[in-house]
Structure formats: C-alpha cells, structure tokens
C-alpha cells in the first residue's frame, strides 16, 4: 500500500505543474490549448539536452520551462496574427513540435546517465528511501509552484486573467488587455508543462519523443476529478490549486492501481480515457447532490446573517 502511494507521488507530483497549466487555460480562460502535448516533450527534451551538456540540474529545469514557454508564445502568436482559435493554433503546434522535438533530442530517446540530476544523490539509498527522498524534493518544487501560482492569481494581473475567462467583454470595459493576457496564459501554461516535464525527465533518466501523448486529455481528466473533491470557483484560489493537486494525485492513483492489479502498460491510455469519462459522469450525476449541499449551506448561512433580498 505504501509503495502504491509512493509510486503515485513520484509519478504524479511532476504532473502537478503540467495540469496546473492545463487548468489555467481550460478553466480560468475557458479555452483549449493542445500545444501542451508537444511543449511537454519540448520542455523535457531541452532539459535532457542541457543536462547532457553538463548544465546544473536546477538550471536544466528552468531551461526546460523556458523552452516549453516559448512554444506557448508561438501558439499565442499564431492565434493572434492569423486569427485562428487557440484550439487550432495548439493543434498545429502539437503536430509541428514532434519534428522540432526530434531535432532537439537528435534521437527518439535520449538517456541521461545516472549523474547530474536533481535525484542523483539518492542512488545509494534503498528503493523505498530513494522514492521517499525523490518525492520529498518533488513536493518541495511543487509546493513552491502552487504557492507562487496562488499568489499570482491574487495580484491585479492574476485577477485580470481570471476575469477574461469569465466575461471578456466586461474585462475589456474595465481596461483589461485581453490579447496580452492570452499570451500570458499560454506562456504560463506551457512553461508549467515544461517544468513538470523536466522533473519527470530527471526522475526517469531519459527523454522520449513520445512522452507527451495524451497529456492534454489526462490533464482535463485530472481537473474534472479534482473538481469532484474540491469545488473551485473563480475567487476561491486555495481551492483552485487544491483541485489540481488532489485531481492529479487521484488520477495517478488510478493508473498506479491499474498497473498493480496487473494491467499491461499499453492499457493505461484506455484507463485514462475511462477516468475522464467517469469524472464527467460523476460530475453530471453528482451535480444534483452538490447543488443540494450548496443550497443547504446557503440556507444555513443566510439564517445566521439576515440579508435583505431584493425582488428580481
């Protein structure tokens, strides 16, 4: 059981920044950015390449982040200059990035060796202790990312970002530059994907040109799963980061569990798709339940503080 949880942590924690990026576009901006399928690999590839060239592990992490963020910037440019939807711009990028990634890696799979990563020091430890130390380092990085992201959402810029996804017309009438925030959201989301990919690459010791497939669907599934447990909304910022954290780990727990019961690795994508479906179904089916508890909570609250309601 403990091993299942450790597996969940070491494979799940690197995905938290990635899915936080997907949440940013999917929920905060109410849009779809498929760039992540390619930028995730690009981030990992850049990280692997810089590591092979002897860069320090922390710098390689940031390099991976920057590489993926640049991909997001290109998507934003395509969207703004050619006036195509973000969905289409991202789709084009995700296809094109495959070739770019192959050139960056120069081989379908680039191995790192055992030295120079964030987790190299743990080689001498026993399996379980190494996992514990690994997840500790990952948790540290993820915690910094989540706190920084939560604080960013509280700033004027972060608030403007949240507003554009809910009511773009209103945001513009309040002086928010919608186009600039589109760029910011895409750069941020893909940068986070690159950061997560760099963590994953450093842990697994190699970068693979196919490692990004299905990232988007997995992220959406994790977000929906998280929303079942934690009900986030535009102004509940702790819940937003909590939703991503819980959703990601729950999603990984499902996959790790599936492997444990003996499913072949090839079935994992099927399990991912099923998880997504179950999350959607649960959202629909349990939606009424959630609504009921919310109504009860509201009644209880208004009973405590009488509010003058206006006829409407």
């Amino acid at each position: 059981m403990i091993q299942v949880l450790l597996d969940m942590l070491v494979t799940g924690l690197p995905l938290v920044p990635v899915f936080l990026g997907i949440y940013t576009v999917f929920r905060l901006r109410a849009d779809f950015d498929l760039t992540v399928e390619g930028s995730f690999v690009l981030g990992g590839a850049v990280c692997a390449l810089t590591l092979v060239h002897g860069w320090p592990s922390w710098l390689a992490l940031l390099a991976g982040m920057a590489g993926a963020a640049a991909a997001g910037a290109v998507t934003a440019l395509i969207h703004l200059l050619l006036r195509v939807p973000v969905l289409l711009a991202g789709l084009v990028m995700s296809i094109g990035l495959f070739s770019v990634n192959l050139h960056v890696l120069d081989t379908p799979t680039l191995s790192l060796g055992t030295e120079g990563t964030l987790f190299s020091g743990f080689g001498s430890l026993s399996g379980r202790q190494a996992d514990l130390a690994t997840s500790g380092v990952m948790a540290g990085v993820v915690a910094v990312v989540l706190v920084a992201f939560g604080l960013f959402l509280r700033t004027e810029l972060g608030l403007a970002l949240r507003a554009t996804g809910v009511n773009a017309r209103m945001a513009r009438s309040q002086g928010v530059n919608d186009r600039r925030l589109t760029v910011l959201a895409l750069v941020l989301a893909n940068g986070l994907a690159g950061l997560g990919a760099s963590l994953a690459v450093q842990y697994q010791g190699y970068a693979d040109v196919n490692m990004g497939g299905g990232t988007f669907v997995a992220g959406v599934g994790a977000v929906l799963l998280g929303e079942l447990f934690v009900r986030p909304s535009g102004s509940k910022l702790v819940r937003i980061v909590g939703c991503v954290l819980v959703g990601t780990l729950a999603y990984r727990l499902v996959l790790v569990g599936a492997l444990r019961v003996g499913l072949p690795a090839g079935d994992l994508r099927g399990v991912t798709a099923l998880t997504l479906l179950v999350a959607i179904a649960a959202e629909r089916y349990l939606g009424a339940l959630g609504g009921l508890t919310r109504t009860l909570a509201r009644t209880a609250r208004s009973a405590r503080t009488p509010i003058r309601q206006e006829a409407a």
Binding site: L157, L159, A163, N167, Q174, S233
Partner: protein
C-alpha cells in the same frame, strides 16, 4: 468635452450584406452634460455608444475626448476615462468572481496592472464604503460570488464599479431595460445620484420615453444612423411623450412595442 466628427460606421462595407450603422454623424457633448438618446431599433444608438467606448472603430471620422484624438484606441485603452454599464445585468460583472474581485478589477481601471495584490485591507475598506451607499447589505457579502446576486443588485454593483475610477464619460446603454419596475426605480435613483456626484459627461440610451424626458439636460433622437433631433434643456422640458413619438414616427420609423406600450399606460 467629447466630440464625434463626421462618423461613418459601416459593417461589411462593399458587400451585399452591408449595414450602415452610423452615417455622417457629428455631435459634441459638453463636459458634465447628461444626454439621453432615444430612437427605434437599428437607429444607431448602441453603435454610437460603441463608437464612444472604442468597442467599434468607425469606418470614417474622428473621436476626440478632452482634446485628444482617441479614434484608434481600443476599448480597453479608453477604459480609464470611459465607463460603461450594459443593458444585460450579466454583462457588466464576472459572475464566478466574488464581489470584491469585481470591484478590485474596476479599481485598477486606467492603470497598468502589475503584481500588486488586487484586494488589500485598505482597498476593501474603500469598497465597503462604496457599496454600503447602495443600502443592499452588499458590504457584508464582499466574498460572495456575484452570480448569487439578483439582476438589480448586479446592475447596482456595475454602477458602483463604473464610478470607482472617476471616469470623465459614463455610458449607460439601456441599463434599465432588463429590470422589473421596482428595481428600475431603485437603479434609476442610483443613476441620477451617481451622475450628479461624478460630474461626468453622461450618455444614456433608453427605450423609455418618460425616462428620456425626465432625466438629463439634453435629448437626442436618432434614426437610421443619424441624429434627427437635438433638444436642449428648455425644449426638452416642454416636450411630451406623444410629441416625441410623433417626431420618431415622422422620420418614417415604427416605434417599438415597448415604447408605445409605455405611452398607453401613461
């Protein structure tokens, strides 16, 4: 002073589905003037509002605000001087964000948005003071989602948001149209109070002839993209709803059911 020079606003120019929204429109609004605008559907009232706000860029002509040419500035760059209240109560606020987040968004209007916290204790105190004036008890519900508010409450909140950054122009685009009669009276009272307090040049589009005559110190009648009548304060005070409707129908426009209905009741 807000001046529109020779404005044409044409959609799909040169195509079979060409729509002329405004034609040769020139009008000057003096600083602090409160102007009401009436006209039938398609007369160009909302197009005029959009041209002033920057949501629509005119095909020809210039827009001047306080001596500077703002024709090429998009709406978000004019937001520091120009505040808008929409006809749809849902349009002016972000329903999923809290009341204080909506207010904070309005507070940063006209400034560069940076990495300062949007809601601080000091700003919250200012917000409380502003919404307390509404008498709706919203000052105790700052953390509530705006989606929980009624249409009238949301429209009142939008009015407060419009006033927060002391705009020099206030645009009210049929902002009472979607409210029930009781709420209309409340928001109307708030409107007159706010306009007096702000001293901003105010342009109010309405379908309600009574409101058009009772409020403000100047009345414009629009038809087919032009201003066909321009009444100053004294002329306006002598005008009746019937006379106003005659003026509109005289231009060959059918008065909408809504406006006609109001006349029957009156």
């Amino acid at each position: 002073m807000l001046r529109l020079d020779d404005i044409d606003l044409i959609y799909n120019a040169g195509r079979v589905d060409e729509v002329v929204a405004l034609r040769n429109l020139s009008v000057t609004f003096e600083r602090g003037q409160f102007v009401t605008i009436v006209g039938t559907n398609g007369a160009g009232k909302s197009s005029l509002i959009q041209t002033i706000s920057g949501a629509a860029r005119p095909t020809r002509g210039r827009v001047h605000l306080d001596g500077r040419d703002v024709t090429r500035l998009p709406d978000h760059r004019r937001a520091g001087w120009i505040a808008r209240v929409f006809d749809d109560p849902r349009a002016g606020t972000a329903p999923e964000l809290s009341i204080e987040d909506n207010l904070a968004l309005a507070m940063a209007r006209g400034r560069a948005r940076g990495l300062r916290f949007a809601v601080t204790a000091r700003r919250r105190a200012v917000m409380r003071e502003h919404v307390a004036g509404l008498g709706l008890g919203l000052e105790n519900r700052l953390a509530d989602r705006v989606g929980l508010l009624s249409a009238g409450q949301r429209q009142s909140l939008t009015m407060v948001m419009a006033a927060l950054s002391a705009p020099s122009v206030l645009l009210l685009d049929e902002h009472l149209a979607a409210l029930d009669p009781g709420t209309t009276a409340t928001v109307l009272a708030l409107t007159t109070e706010l306009v007096r307090e702000l001293g901003a040049t105010t342009v109010m589009v309405t379908h309600n002839m009574d409101h058009a005559l009772a409020l403000g110190d100047r009345l414009l009648v629009m038809s087919r993209g032009r201003v066909i009548a321009d009444y100053d304060g004294t002329e306006k005070s002598e005008m009746t709803v019937g006379g106003l409707i005659d003026r509109i129908t005289g231009a060959g426009d059918a008065v909408s059911d809504r406006s006609a209905l109001i006349e029957k009741v009156a």
